[in-house]
């Protein structure tokens, strides 16, 4: 019977797929360049949206400003998988690698996707506390990533 792949990623660099920022997402990537995790938030109802939206689907106030706000970068692993046979060509050499769905502490159900760094695959579990780290992929692009939260992390 096969079991969970073992391994650990210290980095996902070099990155084979880069984002194409657009008018909606540019502030997200701009924040990442200064090593901050910023999520779009409706200034009317304070609801966070990720991916960003053109119109607040929560309060529907067209006058409400949608602006990016820095968040703590702390959250918990909601779920994850270990990709052994990637369907994305640029990741063929990186397998096995972990993909985690992180629920940010700012709002229930506010999820971001990332790779979990600095963690043995066998130790990944739903509910584990994680914190954001940043990896430079190019001149323009810095990726938010996550690692297990460290005791005494600034908070």
């Amino acid at each position: 019977m096969v079991s969970r792949p073992s391994g650990r990623k210290e980095t996902m660099a070099p990155y084979g797929v880069l984002p194409a920022p657009d008018e909606l997402s540019e502030p997200y990537w701009e924040a990442a360049r200064r090593e901050a995790l910023a999520i779009q938030q409706c200034r009317g109802c304070l609801r966070f949206h990720h991916p960003p939206v053109y119109f607040c689907t929560n309060c529907h106030d067209e006058a409400a400003e949608l602006a990016f706000a820095d968040v703590s970068g702390r959250g918990t692993v909601y779920s994850y998988y270990i990709h052994e046979d990637s369907d994305i060509r640029a990741f063929g050499e990186k397998t096995p690698y972990p993909v985690v769905m992180v629920e940010l502490e700012e709002q229930a159900g506010l999820f971001v996707l990332a790779n979990l760094l600095d963690c043995e695959y066998g130790e990944i579990a739903a509910g584990m506390p994680v914190e954001v780290v940043f990896e430079r992929a190019s001149e323009e692009i810095v990726f938010p990533q996550f690692r297990p939260a460290r005791a005494g992390s600034a908070g």
């Binding site: 019977m1 096969v2 969970r4 792949p5 996902m12 990155y15 084979g16 797929v17 880069l18 984002p19 194409a20 920022p21 657009d22 997402s25 949206h49 990720h50 991916p51 909601y78 779920s79 994850y80 998988y81 270990i82 990709h83 052994e84 046979d85 990637s86 369907d87 994305i88 060509r89 640029a90 990741f91 990186k94 096995p96 690698y97 993909v99 769905m101 159900g109 506010l110 999820f111 971001v112 996707l113 990332a114 790779n115 579990a125 739903a126 509910g127 992929a137 990726f143």
Partner: protein, 395 residues
């Protein structure tokens, strides 16, 4: 609310036709679809010219090039290929796969928009390419937040839900073997199935290579070249048909009111939405899970069988791993399930197996797979929040 049709206008099935599923077939998809449709017309005992409605879920796969007649068979191509002179209504569904095409056809038939509706699905898998082989080096739109992390198609999305399920309910992934082997076993009685004559064992399932842990190779359906078709009409016209059955009692689709998670919906949101879907289905039909003799649930990825068994209330939340045993799901078991093999056993025709076998079981034409005395069938098709379902009856 109950769905009611005018007297004599209950939509039903009168014919099923197939072109056998193969991993790769050295034929054009047009000829494959033609074979399935003409077989369905012959089974229904009608002439091609009598078809006056067409409903299809034509969407090609990501690896297809979208070439009409080669890897996609839209209604427009089908009508031209068959030279159908009498079509008054047609529909191309782009959501919830082939069950939604059945629902649209049922509505059109009941309204009198057509008298004989052809519903079909045809899929081509090109040789020499990987099923999902994303060559991207950049990602835009919502993909810019997922693909650069190596997260691609539907399988990985299912893996996230599955791992959540396993940890939430303390379930062993190996317990899925019973439902997967049920599909492959039933496919041995379905000569149209891609896996016909090649039954896999429990060891094969448990020792298969890992795709996205906790999912292994046989947790995924296999893309194929193939096509299936059904002919539908109304109760009044079906009286002269050789073997009518599967009178539509009700239908519903998954509402999208809770997709708050954004990047990927949570298992909990899916649960709640699919629970609403199920309740609306049962209310529309005036029937409940206890009435269902034959159960067909979508199995493009194996874990969704478990979640739908629960959301459609065949067992309680978190109970599917214990409930979905080989004995219970077998053709002679308490709850015959995916009796022609589903997607997992027949091949990836996006729920055509579920629709066609629902029709056959209610028409009494399922042959060696026929469930004796079956009066009510439930058919649900579509992954994640893309579900559409209907309940139909023998009489």
């Amino acid at each position: 609310m109950a769905i009611e049709f005018p007297p004599g206008k209950r939509p039903c099935f009168i014919g099923v036709g197939y072109s056998p599923c193969h991993r790769y077939a050295p034929r054009s998809l047009g000829s494959i679809a033609y074979e399935a449709v003409t077989n369905a017309v012959a089974d229904a005992g009608i002439e091609l010219e009598q078809i006056d409605g067409v409903s299809v879920y034509p969407n090609p796969l990501g690896v297809n090039r979208g070439i009409v007649g080669h890897d996609v068979i839209p209604a427009t191509y089908m009508m031209r290929m068959l030279g159908l002179p009498n079509v008054r209504w047609f529909n191309q569904t782009n959501w919830s796969m082939i069950a939604a095409s059945v629902i649209e056809a049922a509505n059109a038939l009941a309204a009198g928009a057509c008298d004989y509706a052809l519903v079909y699905r045809a899929l081509h898998h090109p040789a020499g390419v990987r099923y999902h082989d994303n060559p991207a080096t950049t990602a835009g739109g919502e993909n810019q937040f997922t693909v650069p992390y190596g997260h691609g198609g539907g399988g990985p999305r299912q893996a996230l839900h599955f791992q959540r399920y396993l940890e939430k309910y303390g379930a062993p992934r190996e317990a899925l073997a019973d439902a997967v082997l049920n599909a492959h076993g039933n496919a041995q009685l379905n000569e149209n199935a891609a896996w016909y004559g090649r039954e896999i064992t429990r060891d094969d399932y448990l020792n298969a290579r890992i795709i996205s842990w906790p999912m292994l190779l046989f947790d995924y359906d296999m893309p194929v070249d193939g096509a299936g078709a059904v002919i539908m009409t109304t109760e009044d016209r079906a009286r002269g048909a050789p073997h009518p059955g599967g009178y539509i009692a009700g239908y519903a689709m998954t509402p999208h009111n809770l997709e708050r998670g954004g990047i990927i919906e949570s298992l909990e949101d899916l649960y709640e939405m699919d629970g609403l879907h199920a309740e609306n289905l049962y209310r529309s039909a005036g029937l409940g899970p206890e009435d269902v003799d034959v159960l067909h649930l979508y199995d493009g990825f194996s874990p969704m069988m478990w979640t739908r068994m629960e959301t459609f209330r065949f067992c309680g939340e978190g109970e599917a791993p214990a409930w979905a045993t080989a004995e219970r799901l077998a053709l002679d078991g308490e709850q015959p399930f995916n009796t022609s093999g589903g997607n997992l056993g027949e091949g990836r025709l996006h729920g055509m197996a579920h629709v066609a076998e629902t029709a056959r079981q209610m028409m009494g034409t399922a042959g060696s797979r026929q469930i004796a005395g079956a009066e009510v069938a439930l058919c649900e098709v579509g992954p994640f929040a893309m579900g559409a379902s209907f309940i139909c009856t023998r009489e």
